[in-house]
C-alpha cells in the first residue's frame, strides 16, 4: 500500500511532463492535456494501491490520459455542437515516431517559456505543465493566493491557445535565444528556492531548488551540447551543495566565510566541478552561467575563505562584466577585490554604485560589512538598517540583525 503511494509519487515526478507533452502534441491544447494527465494520475492513486503498479506505468498513464481527454472532447463537442472540430482533432493523430516523446517534452518547455508570455506566467506554466507541481504548490512557492496563481496559469494557457503559441522546436536561428529564455526561467525558480523571499517563509526552499535542478537536468538530457545548459546545471549544483551549511540551527543565514565546509555535499561539488572542467576543456568562450559556475567552482575548491583564489575570482568577474555590465556584477566583483586589496578599496568602488543599487539589499549588506570591518560603527549601523529594511529572506534578516547588534 505504502509502496504503491511512494511509487506513484516517484512516477508522477518522472512521467507527468511526458504525459502532458504527449497529449499536447496529440490534442494541440494545454488545458485538455493537463486535465487528462491529472485525471489519469487520480485514477492511478485510486487503483494502483489495490491492483498494483502496471509494468509500464508511463504507457498506462499516457493511454489513460488520452482516453480521458477524448472523453472530454466528445462531451464538449456534444455540449457545444462542435462535432467537426473535435473529430478533426481526434483523427489527426499519426502513429508516434520513435523517440518523439522526449522531443515533445522539449516542445512543451519551449511553449511554456515562450517570449510572448510574461516572466511570471512562464515560471508558473513551466512548473505546472512540465514539473507537475499543483496550483496550490506553485502558489505557496511564490507567496500568492491560490486563486491568483490559478488565474495566472489559466490566462497563460488561454494566450497559448488564442495566439497559437506553437508546439514545436524553435528555428535553428532562434534556438540560442529561446534556450536562454528557458534557462532564465529555471534560474529564477532556483533562486526563489535558494534565497526565498517572504517574512513567513523558510530561508531556503529545498523543494524549489530541487525542482529547478531536476528540470535543468532534463533540459541537459534533451539539449546535450549547450555550454550554458551545462553551466547553469553546474552553478545550481555548486550552490545547492552548500545548502545545509548555509542556514544555522536557529534559521540564520551563514555567510560563505563562516560556513562549515565539512557539511558541504561532496557528491554535488564533484559533479559541478566535473561539468566546469568539461566546459573549460571545450575551449568555447563561456557564457554567463558558465562563468558563474566557474566562480562557484573556485569557492568550493578552497578549504577556507583565506585559501580562496580571489585573484582567479576577480578575473572571472572581469570576464562576466564584459558580458553583463550590470551594477550587481560590479558589486560582486568589488567584494572579491576587497578580499585582495582590503575593505577600503572595495568600499570606494561600491559607494560609486550607490545611485543604481540604492534599492538592493545586498548593496547595503556589503557596505555594512565593509564599514564594520573598517571600524566605522555608526555608518555600518545605518547600512545594516537599510539592508534589513530591504531584505526579503528571513535567514538573511536574522543574520544582519545579529551583526548589527554586535556593533560597538
Amino acid at each position: 500500500m505504502i509502496d504503491a503511494r511512494e511509487a506513484i509519487t516517484r512516477i508522477h515526478r518522472e512521467e507527468w511532463g511526458r504525459v502532458v507533452a504527449s497529449l499536447t502534441r496529440r490534442f494541440g491544447d494545454l488545458d485538455i492535456a493537463e486535465e487528462g494527465a491529472a485525471e489519469a494520475f487520480a485514477i492511478a492513486v485510486e487503483r494502483w494501491p489495490a491492483d498494483g503498479v502496471p509494468p509500464n506505468p508511463g504507457a498506462w498513464l499516457t493511454t489513460t490520459a488520452n482516453r480521458k481527454a477524448i472523453d472530454r472532447i466528445r462531451r464538449e463537442a456534444k455540449r457545444h455542437e462542435k462535432h467537426e472540430e473535435a473529430r478533426m482533432l481526434y483523427h489527426e493523430e499519426s502513429p508516434e515516431p520513435l523517440g518523439a516523446i522526449d522531443d515533445d517534452r522539449l516542445r512543451l518547455i519551449f511553449a511554456c517559456c515562450h517570449p510572448a508570455l510574461g516572466q511570471e506566467a512562464r515560471v508558473a506554466l513551466t512548473l505546472r505543465m512540465v514539473g507537475g507541481l499543483t496550483v496550490p504548490e506553485i502558489a505557496r512557492a511564490f507567496l500568492v493566493q491560490e486563486s491568483t496563481m490559478g488565474q495566472r496559469i489559466t490566462r497563460a494557457k488561454a494566450k497559448v491557445k488564442a495566439a497559437r503559441i506553437p508546439f514545436r522546436m524553435p528555428s535553428a536561428e532562434d534556438l540560442p535565444v529561446r534556450v536562454s529564455g528557458v534557462l532564465a526561467v529555471l534560474f529564477l525558480v532556483f533562486n526563489e528556492g535558494y534565497l526565498a523571499t517572504g517574512r513567513d517563509t523558510d530561508p531556503v526552499r529545498h523543494e524549489l531548488t530541487a525542482e529547478a535542478i531536476r528540470l535543468t537536468r532534463l533540459i541537459r538530457a534533451l539539449i546535450p551540447d549547450d555550454g550554458e545548459v551545462d553551466g547553469l546545471l553546474a552553478l545550481m549544483l555548486l550552490t545547492e551543495a552548500r545548502r545545509t551549511a548555509r542556514v544555522s540551527a536557529s534559521g540564520e543565514l551563514v555567510t560563505l566565510d563562516e560556513q562549515d565546509r565539512g557539511a558541504w555535499d561532496r557528491a554535488l561539488i564533484a559533479e559541478g566541478h566535473q561539468l566546469v572542467r568539461e566546459r573549460l576543456a571545450a575551449g568555447v568562450a563561456p557564457g554567463r552561467y558558465q562563468i558563474l559556475a566557474a566562480i562557484n567552482a573556485v569557492h568550493t575548491s578552497a578549504r577556507n575563505v583565506r585559501d580562496t583564489d580571489w585573484s582567479q575570482i576577480v578575473a572571472l568577474y572581469d570576464q562576466l562584466i564584459r558580458l553583463d555590465p550590470s551594477p550587481i556584477v560590479a558589486l560582486n566583483r568589488a567584494i572579491a577585490v576587497g578580499e585582495i586589496d582590503g575593505p577600503e578599496v572595495a568600499l570606494a568602488t561600491i559607494d560609486g554604485l550607490g545611485d543604481r543599487l540604492a534599492g538592493y539589499h545586498a548593496y547595503h549588506a556589503a557596505r555594512a560589512d565593509l564599514l564594520r570591518r573598517l571600524g566605522r560603527g555608526e555608518e555600518a549601523r545605518r547600512a545594516y538598517d537599510e539592508a534589513i529594511a530591504l531584505a526579503g529572506n528571513t535567514g538573511e534578516i536574522a543574520y544582519l540583525t545579529r551583526r548589527r547588534g554586535q556593533l560597538q
Binding site: A163, R164, R168
Partner: protein, 111 residues
C-alpha cells in the same frame, strides 16, 4: 490563423518617405510569401466618431472611444501558421515602419 498587427504611434501620417518606401518593400514581401491579407493607415483619432446604434435614434459622439497619448495609427492583417511566424513578421514590420507594433490574434474571421 489571422493576426492583427497594429502600429502604435503618437502622430498620424508621420511616416517619412524612407519609411513609406520600407513599408512598400515589406508589403511586397508579405504578398510574395502569402502572409498578406489587408493593411492600411488610419486618420487621426480626432477624426473618429463613436456610434451607438442600439437606441431608436443612433447616437453619435465626436472623437475616439478611448483617449490616449498613443493610439492605433495603422495596421496589417496577416495570415500566419502560428505566433512564432507572426512575431517574426511583426518584428520586420516594426523595423520597416520604424514604430512599435502590437500583435493580436483574431478569434476567428467571418467567411
Amino acid at each position: 490563423m489571422h493576426y492583427l498587427v497594429s502600429v502604435i504611434d503618437e502622430k498620424t501620417g508621420s511616416a517619412t518617405s524612407a519609411e513609406m518606401a520600407a513599408i512598400d518593400t515589406y508589403n511586397d514581401g508579405l504578398k510574395a510569401e502569402g502572409y498578406w491579407v489587408f493593411a492600411g493607415g488610419l486618420a487621426a483619432p480626432s477624426a473618429a466618431t463613436v456610434v451607438d446604434g442600439r437606441p431608436d435614434e443612433p447616437l453619435f459622439t465626436d472623437g475616439p472611444f478611448i483617449e490616449s497619448k498613443e493610439y492605433l495609427a495603422g495596421f496589417w492583417v496577416m495570415e500566419a501558421p502560428d505566433l512564432d511566424v507572426a512575431l517574426k513578421l511583426a518584428a520586420d514590420g516594426s523595423k520597416a515602419c520604424n514604430r512599435r507594433v502590437e500583435v493580436r490574434p483574431f478569434l476567428g474571421v467571418a467567411p
